[in-house]
C-alpha cells in the first residue's frame, strides 16, 4: 500500500475490505480475582448505601467488607497455593498486571491489613452515643459545614457515614493493583484509585473536623502535585522506550531492543529521557512511602485524619507503595542500578536521620508515630537498595511486620480519650501505666517493636533488611541505620518511661473500653508482633520464596 493510500485509509473504508475486528483482550479473571472481588464488594457497598434503609447499612456494610476482604484473601492464598507465586508466575491482563510472588505476598498483607483496619473503622463504643444510636469515629454527615446548623442536626440525629466502608474497599482495590502493576499506565491508574479514596477518608473525622479537612486538602494537593511528576516521568519514559510496559522498557534499557518506532525515532534511546523520567517516577513513589524530602505531608495528615484511617493508611499505603517501588527498581531499572543506587542511598540516609531526629521533639502521639513511620521508610529503603534476592524478601518481611505494629499502635491511640475525644498530647499519657497497665503494656510492646528490640517483629525485620543491605554492599547505610535506630529508641523508650514512671495527672484521660472489634485488632497486632519476633523463620522463608519478580 502506498503512502497516500495508507493516509487515506485513516478516514475512509474501502468497500471491498471487511471491517477489521478489534481483538477482545484476553483477561485471566481467576488470576485477578482478589482485585475483582474487592472492587465488586465496593460497588455492592455503594448500592447498599443507595438502597438499604439507614438502620441496616452499618451491619450490611461491615459484613460485606469483611466477607469481601476475607474472600479476596482466600483467593490470594489459593493462587499462591496454585503455584502462581513461583513457577506459574506470569504477566496477566495483556501485560498490565503481574501475578507473581511479591505481588501475591503484598496483596495478602494489604488484605489482612484492610481486614483488621475494617474492625477499627467499625468501632462504635468509644464515642458517646448520639440520639440513642452508637456512632463511630467518622463525621455524622461529611458534607455539612463544621460548626454549622446542619452538622449539629446530623449529630443530634445520630447519623453515621457508613460510606467509609466502600470507600476503603476502593482504596484496597487500588492497593492490590499497585504493587502488581506491570506497565506505567496501570501503575498511575492504580495510584489514583487508591489515593482518591484516602483523601476522602482523611476528611471524615467526627471530632476536630477542621483539622481533618485541612489534612485532607493538603494531602490531596500534594498528592496531585506528586502525581503530576509521576505522570510526566511516565511520558518521558514512553518517549525513551516507545512502550509503557515494564518488560519493554527494561529491554530498551538493557540494549536488547527491537525495532525503533519511527514516530519516536527522535527520542528513543535517549538516556537523558530515561534518567529524568526514571527519577520522576521514583519521586512519585517516594512521596507515597513518605521518604525525605517528600515526607512533609505525613505528620500533618497522620495527625488530622481519623485515627483508624491513619492506621490503615500508614500500614497499607506503605506496603503497596514499596511493592511498586521494588518492582520498578528490580524489573524496569536494574540496568540502571549504577545510576539510581547512589541517589537512593542518599534518600535512605536522609530519611532515616530526619525521621529519627525530628521525632525526638514531638509532643503529639500521632505526629510522633508519623515521624517514626518516616524513619521506618528509611530502614526499608536500605533493604530495597540491597538489590539482592535477600533484599526483596527482607523488605517483604519488614512490610508485613511493620504494618501490624502500626495498625495496633494507632488502634491503642483511639482508646486513650478525654472529653474532647482522643487525648493525643504526650503529657496526657503520663502515668498511663499506673491506671491502665494492660493498655500501657500493649502500647509498650508496639513501641519496643518500633524500636527494634529483640523478641519483637521489629527486631527480626530490621535485622533482615540491615543484613541484606550489608551483604549488598551498603555497609555505611547499615551504620547510619543503626545510629538512627539508637536515636529513635530514645523517643520510643521515652514514651514508655512517661507511661510507667511518671505520676498520673489528676485530670488525665481515661482509657475507653472498646468493643471486641478494636480489641481483636489490637490483639492481632500484638500476636503478630510477638510471633514474628519469637519465631520469624517461617515467615522469613515464606518471604524468601515469594522474592522473585516475573518479567
Amino acid at each position: 500500500m502506498s503512502h497516500a493510500a495508507s493516509v487515506h485509509s485513516l478516514w475512509t473504508l474501502a468497500a471491498a475490505e471487511a471491517p477489521k475486528k478489534i481483538p477482545a483482550p484476553h483477561i485471566e479473571y481467576a488470576q485477578l480475582s482478589p482485585t475483582l472481588i474487592v472492587l465488586g464488594a465496593a460497588v455492592l457497598g455503594v448500592l447498599v448505601e443507595a438502597f438499604l434503609p439507614r438502620r441496616a447499612r452499618y451491619h450490611a456494610q461491615l459484613l460485606l467488607t469483611v466477607v469481601g476482604l476475607a474472600a479476596a484473601f482466600a483467593a490470594v492464598v489459593a493462587l499462591a497455593a496454585g503455584g502462581y507465586g513461583s513457577d506459574k508466575a506470569h504477566v496477566a491482563a495483556m501485560g498490565a498486571v503481574a501475578v507473581d510472588g511479591p505481588a501475591l505476598f503484598l496483596q495478602g498483607i494489604v488484605l489482612l491489613v484492610g481486614l483488621v483496619a475494617a474492625f477499627t473503622f467499625a468501632e462504635r463504643r468509644l464515642e458517646p452515643a448520639a440520639n440513642g444510636r452508637p456512632v463511630d469515629s467518622f463525621a455524622a454527615q461529611a458534607a455539612t459545614v463544621p460548626g454549622g446548623d446542619a452538622e449539629r442536626k446530623a449529630v443530634m440525629a445520630g447519623l453515621a457515614t457508613t460510606e467509609v466502608f466502600p470507600v476503603m474497599l476502593f482504596a484496597v482495590g487500588g492497593m492490590l493493583v499497585f504493587p502488581a502493576a506491570n506497565d506505567l499506565l496501570t501503575l498511575f491508574v492504580a495510584l489514583e484509585v487508591f489515593s482518591l479514596p484516602l483523601y476522602v477518608l482523611c476528611a471524615l473525622a467526627r471530632r476536630q473536623r477542621l483539622l481533618s479537612q485541612e489534612s485532607a486538602v493538603k494531602y490531596f494537593l500534594l498528592g496531585a502535585f506528586s502525581s503530576a511528576f509521576l505522570l510526566f516521568g511516565v511520558a518521558l519514559l514512553y518517549g525513551y522506550a516507545g512502550t509503557v510496559t515494564y518488560s519493554g522498557i527494561a529491554e530498551v534499557v538493557g540494549g536488547t531492543t527491537r525495532t525503533v518506532d519511527p514516530a519516536l525515532a527522535g527520542t528513543m534511546g535517549n538516556d537523558a529521557l530515561l534518567l529524568i523520567g526514571g527519577a520522576l517516577v521514583l519521586m512519585g513513589l517516594l512521596f507515597k512511602v513518605g521518604a525525605v524530602p517528600f515526607h512533609m505531608w505525613t505528620p500533618d495528615v497522620y495527625q488530622g485524619a481519623p485515627t483508624p484511617v491513619t492506621g490503615f493508611m500508614a500500614a497499607a499505603t506503605k506496603v503497596a507503595a514499596f511493592g511498586a517501588l521494588l518492582r520498578l527498581l528490580y524489573v524496569v531499572l536494574p540496568g540502571l542500578r549504577w545510576d539510581w543506587r547512589p541517589v537512593m542511598w542518599a534518600v535512605a540516609i536522609v530519611t532515616m536521620l530526619v525521621g529519627a531526629i525530628v521525632a525526638v521533639t514531638q509532643t503529639d502521639v500521632k505526629r510522633l508515630l508519623a515521624y517514626s513511620s518516616i524513619a521506618h521508610a528509611g530502614f526499608i529503603l536500605a533493604g530495597v537498595i540491597a538489590t539482592t534476592p535477600d533484599g526483596i524478601s527482607s523488605v517483604l518481611f519488614y512490610l508485613g511486620a511493620y504494618s501490624f505494629v502500626t495498625l495496633g499502635a494507632f488502634a491503642v491511640v483511639t482508646l486513650v480519650r478525654d472529653a474532647g475525644g482522643e487525648a493525643t498530647h504526650l503529657t496526657q499519657w503520663a502515668g498511663l501505666g499506673r491506671r491502665s497497665p494492660l493498655v500501657a503494656a500493649v502500647f509498650a510492646v508496639f513501641l519496643l517493636a518500633f524500636a527494634g528490640i529483640p523478641l519483637t517483629s521489629g527486631f527480626a525485620g530490621k535485622f533482615a533488611v540491615f543484613k541484606a543491605a550489608a551483604q549488598g554492599g551498603a555497609a555505611p547505610l547499615v551504620i547510619v541505620g543503626v545510629l538512627s535506630s539508637a536515636i529513635a529508641a530514645f523517643f520510643y523508650i521515652r514514651v514508655i518511661v512517661l507511661m510507667f514512671f511518671s505520676e498520673p495527672r489528676t485530670e488525665g484521660p481515661t482509657v475507653a473500653v472498646p468493643s471486641p472489634l478494636t480489641s481483636t485488632a489490637i490483639a492481632v497486632g500484638v500476636a503478630v508482633t510477638v510471633l514474628l519476633g519469637v519465631a520469624p523463620q517461617y515467615f522469613l522463608d515464606l518471604a524468601g520464596q515469594a522474592g522473585t519478580f516475573v518479567r
Binding site: K218, G278, F294, D339, T361
Partner: protein, 631 residues
Amino acid sequence: MENLIGLLVLVPLLGAGVLLCGGRRLDSSAPWIGTLLAALSFVIGAVLFAGMLGRDGEDRELGTTVFSWVPVGDFRADVGFQLDQLSMTFVLLITGVGSLIHLYSIGYMAHDERRRRFFGYLNLFLAAMLLLVVADNYLLLYVGWEGVGLASYLLIGFWQHKPSAATAAKKAFLVNRVGDVGLSIAIMLMFTTFGTFAFGPVLEGADRAGEGKLTAIGLVLLLAACGKSAQVPLQSWLGDAMEGPTPVSALIHAATMVTAGVYLITRSGAIFDGAPDAQTAVVTVGAVTLLFGAIVGCAKDDIKKALAGSTMSQIGYMILAAGLGPIGYAFAIMHLVTHGFFKAGLFLGAGSVMHGMNDEVDMRRYGGLRSYMPVTFVTFGLGYLAIIGFPGLSGFFSKDKIIEAAFAKGGTEGWILGGTALLGAAITAYYMTRVMILTFFGEKRWQPDAAGEPPHPHESPRTMTVPMIVLAFGSVFAGGLFSLNDAFLNWLEPVTGHAEGHSPVTAVQVTAATMVVLFVGVALAWAQYGRAPVPVTAPRGNVLVRAARRDLLQDDVNHIVLVRGGEHLTRSLVYLDHTVVDGVVNGTAASVGGLSGRMRRLQNGFARSYAVSMFGGAAVLVAATLLMRAV
C-alpha cells in the same frame, strides 16, 4: 553402676530442693530428712566403693556421659561423671564426714527456728561438693566449684542478723571470686590449648603442650586453689568464716570444701608435672601458708579461730605435698583424709564446748572442763594427739610422710621445705597444746555471759557426741590402716602415680626429728600455760603476738593494697565516666535535640512550602541522577 554416680549427686540435691521449697510443714522433720538423704548418699558411695574394690586396679575407673550440655557446632560440653580412686576417696570423705555432721547438727541446731533452711543448705553443699569431685571435665567441675562457693556463702552468713556474720559471708564470697576467676581463666586457656576441657584429653595431651602454656594454666589453677583452700594470699576469709554455725565450720571450713584446692591440683597433676615453675609456686604457697596459719593459730584466744589457723596450716601441708609432684600426691590426699577426721572432730568438740558454755568462744574464759564434759574431752583429746602427730595416731603417719617427701625433693629446696615442715610441726604442737590446756585443764576462769548468767557446763546430747566418737575413731586408726602395707599409696597409684624421691635423710631420722620438735612444742606450751596462771584478759604481748592476733595484718594489707587502691581506681573511673563518657553521651543527646528543634520548624503547616520542598527534592533527585551518569 555408672548410673549410681549421678544418683550420688542427685540425692542431696533433691534434699536441698525439697527442704528449701518445702515450706513450714517440713520444719520439724527437716533435720531428719536432710540427715537421712546425706546418709543415703553415703550408702550409695559405699556401694560404689565396694564395687570398685571388686575390680582390679586399672579397671576401677568408671565413666559415664549423661547428656550433652552445650553442643555448639564442633564444640561440645558434656555433663559426664568420672569415678576413679581419687574421686572415690573424696566421695567417702564428703558423704561420711558430711553425714556425721548432719547428725551432729540435729542437736546443735535444735533450737534454731530456721533449721529447715540450714539443712537445705547443708544438702546443697553436699551435692555441689560431690559434683565437684565426680565431674569428668573442668567445666562441670567449675559448676560444683561455684556451687560450694554459694553454699559456703549461705552457711557462713546463716545467722545473718549478726552484722559480723553477714560481713564474713560477703568477705568469703568476694575473696573466693578472685580464685574463681582464676579457674575460669584456666578453663579458657585449656580450651585454647587443647580444644577441650575434659580431664582425659587435657591431661593426656599435657606433655605435648608447651611448657609456657602449662605454666600459665598451672598458675591460674593455683590461684583458684588458693581461693578455695584459703592459702596465702587469699587466706583472709577463713578466720572470719568462723562466724557461721560450728557444724558448718567443721564440714566446710575444715573437712571438705577447703580441700577442693588440693583436689584440683592433684587432679591436674599432669599439668603441674610439665611445669616446674608452677610447681615451685605451689610448694612456696604451701610452705608460706603452713607457717602463716600456724603462727596465727598460736595467738588466737577464740577457740574456733585458733582451729581455723590450724586448718589453714594443715592445708598448707597438703598443698606443699601436692606441689612436690608424684612424690607427694598420695600423701597430700592421705593427710587430707586423716585431717578430715581429726579436724572435724576438733571442731565438733569446740562446738560442744561452746554449747555447754553459753556460746562463749574465748578460751581464756574456759578452763578445767575435762570433768564436766568427759566425752568431749576424750574425743577432743584424741583429735589433739592426732593433729600434733603423736606416734601411732592418724596425723603421725600422714604428716610424717609429707615431711619426708619434702626432704626428698632434694637439693637446697628440699632442705628448706623439709625444715619449714618440721618447724610447722613444732608450732602445731605448741598451739594445739595451748588450746587443750586452756580449755580442759587449769582452774575455772568462767565468766557470766552478757545476760549475767553464769555458765553451767554439761555434756552435749547423744546426737552430738556420737559423731564426735565416730570421728575420734577415725582420728586414731585411719592413718595406721592407710599405712598398713602402703595400702593407701597402692590404692591411689593408678591415678596419681608414685615416685620415690632421693631423700638426703632417712625415714628414721625424720621421725626422730619430728618427735623432738613435737616434744619441744608441747613442753613450751606447758611451761607457758600449764604451770603459770592464765590471765582472763589477754596480755598485750610483743609485736609478733599482736600482729598474729590481727592475722599477721592480712586485713590491713588488703585494706591498703586493694581497698584503697580500688577506691582510687573507682574514683578516677567515676570521674572519667562523669566527664568523658557522660559528656559525650549528653553532648550527643543535646545536639540531636537541638537539631530536632531546628528541623522541626521546617514543618510549618503550609502546603505551599511543602510543595516547594517537594519540587526542590525532585529537582535534586533528577540532577543527582543525571550527575551520576556524567561522573
